[in-house]
């Protein structure tokens, strides 16, 4: 059923009780051309683009829990393409372009809101760094706008501009950045993929991989063996665990990242703001809650929950930037498990096992990449070689020295 204003009107006559299921829940078939492991945004987007762009429809998406129940449901919903390096910016900009047309291509409201993303700077050196970044973005066809203090005072009057240690001198704005509704992204891709014939199989955990003569043959799962011509892993957070089933060691550590939501308040933050003197980013959801986050906890973890020293540190950063936050109460916080790579950039491409493809290492940049990641991963799975946009994200870049270290901090995952 196509979603439209007319359809909403029609369904209203039956008090919205006759909407069909958004996607079907078929039993797994014995074998598929392509099996995607991981029913988050990236896995579902991959399946959708495999079916819609490459005509490969004998595809299954296996999810150990429920779709969108992992990091797709645990992020702070920020969408942007403000990267510096050549390996990153074209990819993220393509992803942002896909976001801009996503609702039309999925026929689903993902509540994409291009409300702008502003990175603050607090020193001359930081301004120079952001000017350089802004220029790199413009050269790659993205948008960027340098804002001085006067302009910022009009849009963000509540910042602590005259902070003694970290005065706000200005910011780099990407007006096309913003937020999207995270669950709707998973549901929209699932619905669109399902309509093209993709099988979405929930509560189906992969327990082993069968490899014959160096090529993938299929997967052992909690719902039996499923044969596969090709397998794509889109399980960021758990990439190392899945890859170890194929005997691979990855340049990845799993770390916990926390996020927070406050009680609902009247509209206050109508953009996305990031602090330049600490790691803190904040936006406001359409329900009114302030959504914010900051640094990793900093130690290996698969626990999906963090510890209080990091929570305190993040809130201190928030208070330094926006003192008015002190009166608002946090009502929920949670942790997500991040694939932190050794250079802070994702891995999308081939593995040493024929027919096994990896999409992971998203650090904490995964959500904004969802459509772009699915698009290039579908291309890579369909053609057996990476697209120009993800060619730099190859797994073997660590052995060839072609790392993409956006922050320049070296192989220390908890610093990226």
């Amino acid at each position: 059923m196509k979603h439209s204003a007319l359809q909403i009107f029609r369904q209203a006559w039956s008090s919205h009780r006759k909407w069909p299921r958004t996607w079907s829940s078929p039993e797994p078939k014995p074998a598929y051309d392509v099996v995607i492991v991981g029913g988050g945004g990236h896995g579902l987007a991959t399946a959708f683009y495999l079916a819609s762009e490459h005509g490969i429809r004998n595809v299954a998406v296996l999810e150990k829990g429920w779709i969108g129940g992992g990091n797709t449901g645990r992020n702070t919903t920020i969408v942007r393409s403000n990267y510096l390096l050549d390996g990153n910016e074209p990819f993220y900009e393509w992803s942002l372009k896909l976001w801009e047309g996503l609702e039309q291509s999925l026929n689903y409201n993902v509540m994409m809101s291009q409300r702008g993303v502003i990175n603050l700077f607090h020193s001359d050196a930081q301004r120079d760094g952001l000017v350089r970044r802004g220029n790199a973005m413009l050269m790659h066809g993205a948008d960027a706008k340098l804002m001085d203090r006067d302009e910022l005072e009009k849009v963000l009057p509540y910042l602590d501009f005259d902070n003694a240690r970290f005065p706000v001198l200005g910011g780099l704005c990407q007006p096309r950045g913003g937020t999207a509704r995270h669950d709707a992204v998973a549901w929209g891709f699932a619905r669109a993929a399902d309509q093209l014939g993709v099988d979405i199989i929930q509560n189906c955990e992969v327990t082993g991989m069968r490899i014959k003569d160096g090529a993938i043959d299929g997967l052992d799962t909690t719902r039996g063996f499923i044969g596969a011509g090709k397998v794509g892993l889109a399980v960021a957070g758990n990439s190392s665990r899945l890859a170890s089933m194929a005997g691979l060691r990855l340049p990845i550590e799993s770390h916990v990242l926390q996020a927070f939501v406050t009680e609902s308040i009247k509209p206050l933050v109508d953009t996305v703001v990031t602090f330049g003197a600490g790691h803190f980013y904040i936006s406001q959801s359409d329900k009114g809650g302030l959504v914010f986050g900051g640094d990793l906890d900093g130690y290996n973890s698969y626990a999906q929950r963090g510890n209080l020293p990091t929570a305190e540190h993040i809130m201190e950063s928030g208070m330094a930037m926006m003192p008015c936050l002190g009166r608002v109460r946090v009502v929920r916080h949670w942790g997500g498990v991040m694939d932190m790579t050794m250079d802070g950039s994702p891995i999308i491409g081939l593995t040493p096992v024929t027919g096994l493809y990896l999409n992971g290492g998203w650090c904490y940049g995964g959500f904004k990449a969802t459509p772009g990641s699915g698009w290039v991963f579908a291309y890579t799975l369909a053609r057996g070689e990476p697209h120009r946009l993800n060619a730099a994200y190859r797994l073997d870049r660590f052995s060839t020295g072609r790392i993409i270290d956006e922050k320049g901090v070296g192989p220390q995952p908890n610093l990226h």
Partner: protein
């Protein structure tokens, strides 16, 4: 090697992970800094033939789901480096030893 239990796996009684420094005892997490996997070994050779050993040491990690030997530094305390065996799923601390005394597998040197 001392065996230390920091909190229950279900995390009901103590929501905060505390780190047992071999010198100072159990202290708050904010006093420590984290290095990472303590089971990788720095190659001694710089010959081209040791390239894959360097790749292993610098980049590749087991990243286990469960017990993990890791380096911690009591940066705001006694400044000792030590190895901690900690469960990455429950955050339970299983064992601790000064870095100079015990290797990544928990064997005394």
């Amino acid at each position: 090697m001392r065996r230390v239990w920091v909190h229950s796996p279900t995390c009901i009684n103590s929501p905060t992970m505390r780190i047992p420094c071999p010198n100072c005892g159990e202290r708050g997490l904010e006093e420590f800094s984290y290095r990472g996997d303590a089971t990788v070994t720095r190659p001694t050779s710089i010959e081209p033939s040791s390239e894959s050993a360097w790749l292993d040491y610098v980049y590749l990690r087991d990243n286990p789901y469960g017990p993990h030997w890791e380096f911690w530094h009591h940066i705001s305390g006694c400044r000792a480096w030590f190895r901690l065996k900690r469960d990455t799923v429950t955050h339970e601390v299983l064992a601790v030893a000064l870095a100079a005394e015990v290797d990544g597998e928990g064997h005394r040197s």
